[in-house]
């Protein structure tokens, strides 16, 4: 018995301690998490999510011009009404671009269903068919590390009927964003064009003419605001 105990004891002493096996495994995991967290990337092994925080974004409205179809239109009234229409229609366009370019949960997955809610039924199908132009694209999740909005503008024309009610809104859109690719290069994202909106259960896009003009760009120079947005 004693000899066996001694033998077992001797054998035990020769084994690699359990801690030596478990600690490295745990550390490998911690290492993965730390590296990915510091890089802001995905944690696929542990099943965690990427940073899904959508950067805040609003278009800057540059101008609103009423277009009247009556020779007796009350200019002050239509001007005020046009401003109100612009206020009402802007969230539709803010949402479109937020969901199409800025919401990481959309572009990570390459799915932009929420963006197409901005379109009226008649235009939706064509919009979906033009997803590569109207959104960041199906493969954006594999390409981009971050996408941050840059100054983007809207200008409106509001067409009024003879009774002074708004009929059609034409929005001239210039949307800019900066995409940081996973290889460290940067892309200046530009979407510009014209959106026609009509009031169909809220202002929805019924027609569009949009061009993408993305271009390679240099990394942004460090600035207080840039660092703040990078860390968010």
């Amino acid at each position: 018995m004693t000899a066996n105990r001694v033998e077992r004891g001797a054998k035990k002493k020769r084994r690699v301690p359990l801690a030596v096996l478990l600690v490295p495994i745990a550390l490998i995991g911690i290492g993965v998490v730390l590296v990915l967290t510091l890089r802001g990337g995905a944690v696929p092994i542990l099943g965690g999510g990427q940073d899904e925080t959508t950067p805040p974004f609003d278009f800057t409205v540059k101008g609103v011009r009423p277009v009247v179809t009556s020779t007796k239109a009350d200019e002050d009234a239509v001007s005020a009404s046009a401003q109100q229409v612009a206020e009402d229609a802007t969230p539709t366009i803010d949402d479109l671009y937020t969901f199409a370019f800025l919401d990481p949960s959309n572009w990570h997955a390459g799915e932009y269903d929420e963006a197409f809610e901005a379109f009226a039924d008649g235009a939706k199908q064509t919009a979906r068919g033009s997803a590569e132009v109207l959104t960041l694209g199906a493969g954006a999740g594999n390409l981009f590390e971050t996408v941050e909005p840059r100054k983007s503008t809207l200008a409106y024309q509001v067409l009024f009927d003879k009774d002074g009610d708004p009929n059609t809104v034409v929005a001239t859109v210039v949307f800019r964003a900066l995409g940081e690719r996973k290889d460290g290069t940067y892309l200046a994202i530009l979407s510009q064009g014209t959106l026609f909106l009509r009031d169909v259960d809220g202002w929805k896009i019924t027609a569009f003419d949009v061009t993408r003009g993305d271009a390679e760009t240099e990394p942004p120079s460090p600035s207080p605001s840039a660092s703040a947005s990078a860390s968010s």
């Binding site: 002493k13 690699v16 301690p17 801690a19 030596v20 600690v23 490295p24 550390l27 490998i28 995991g29 911690i30 290492g31 993965v32 998490v33 730390l34 590296v35 890089r39 990337g41 995905a42 696929p44 277009v67 009247v68 179809t69 009556s70 008649g122 235009a123 064509t126 919009a127 033009s130 132009v133 109207l134 694209g137 493969g139 594999n142 390409l143 024309q157 067409l159 009927d161 003879k162 009929n167 059609t168 034409v170 001239t172 690719r181 996973k182 290889d183 892309l187 064009g193 014209t194 026609f196 019924t206 027609a207 569009f208 003419d209 949009v210 061009t211 993408r212 003009g213 271009a215 390679e216």
Partner: protein, 323 residues
């Protein structure tokens, strides 16, 4: 021995830690690089997406465009219809046909007996003109639009003039039409003069009617061109029309038609004038239409708004066009 074992275990642990850190860092970093490398190249190029809600369906749309001879102080709807054009649109096939009806056409005006078709406006306003044209052609007009001299000029000025390819030289003091042939921008006054000129045309009112149709085609051409350049411009066209024309078209319908217009190739719009012989009824100079030709054109247009080659009458301005 115990000390030696302890040292070896600690060294092993440190090595394991180092390996773990390096391994963890590598595992964490590598997949991203690989994914980025494996991702398709991002195409940096101009990409374009467009959608305009063009009216669909095979049912043609017929609009009667009426130009009255109302002077600035006159009500357009109670004067004479000096310009009559059926604009037939096939939204499905993006085609259109314009059929001019000479103002002196001697026809039956419902409720008023036979008279020149232009008097139907005086007798019963645009609605009676529509009834008269419908009875003459068998085509049902979906809408009508009416302008007078002044409103026509204002409409043209509202879009900064019309670019017209004037087909031949004009030198007519009665209308004020003095033009060299070729592409030129006509302001409201000159566009009206171009539309009114008939005295020097060999076929008189027939030729004038064709020129009026040409103005409609020119307007389509220009609206489309400007829309391509800046879609915002469409509102200018719509507003200019709605401000100056009297029409049964609602603003929604005008917007829809304007979009539809952008899909129509103006080069392929067929612009014809029905033919007939001139004659006298009492002391009144009239046009006796070729009813067989009118019927042929109407029947051809009825289902698809497209005029077959065989039913296209010769241009009344043929001799001036050098054809």
């Amino acid at each position: 021995m115990r000390t030696s074992h302890t040292i070896r275990r600690r060294i092993a642990l440190l090595v394991a830690l180092a390996v773990a850190w390096v391994a963890g860092s590598t595992i964490g970093a590598t997949p991203q690089v690989r994914r980025a490398a494996a991702a398709p190249l991002f195409q940096i190029e101009q990409a374009h997406a467009q959608y305009v809600p063009v009216l669909d369906g095979s049912k043609p749309i017929f609009i009667l465009v009426i130009g009255s001879d109302a002077r600035p102080d006159e009500e357009a709807a109670s004067t004479r219809a000096d310009s009559l054009h059926i604009v037939a649109i096939n939204p499905d096939k993006h085609k259109a046909t314009i059929v001019g009806i000479p103002r002196d056409s001697y026809v039956d005006i419902p409720g008023y007996g036979s008279n020149k078709i232009n008097s139907s406006l005086f007798y019963g306003g645009p609605e009676l003109v529509v009834k008269t044209v419908e009875q003459l052609t068998g085509l049902r007009m979906d809408y009508w639009a009416l302008t007078g001299f002044q409103t026509f000029q204002q409409m043209v000025n509202g879009v900064d003039g019309l670019v017209v390819d004037v087909p031949f030289a004009m030198n007519d003091s009665a209308s004020g039409a003095f033009f060299q042939p070729g592409i030129q921008r006509l302001d409201g006054e000159n566009a009206l003069a171009f539309a009114r000129n008939r005295h020097e045309l060999p076929s008189g009112d027939f030729g004038r009617s064709e020129n009026q149709g040409l103005l409609l085609v020119s307007a389509l051409h220009q609206m489309k061109k400007e829309f391509r350049k800046d879609p915002n411009s469409m509102l200018t066209w719509i507003a200019s029309f709605m401000r100056r024309a009297t029409t049964t078209l609602s603003l929604d319908e005008v917007v829809d038609l304007a979009f539809t217009g952008t899909a129509i190739n103006p080069e392929k719009v067929v612009n014809v004038v029905v033919t007939g012989s001139t004659g006298m009824v009492g002391n009144m100079s009239v046009v006796n239409l070729d009813q067989a030709e009118v019927d042929g054109i109407s029947n051809d247009l009825k289902n698809d708004a497209i005029l077959k080659e065989a039913n296209i009458p010769p241009s009344p301005n043929e001799s001036l066009l050098g054809g």
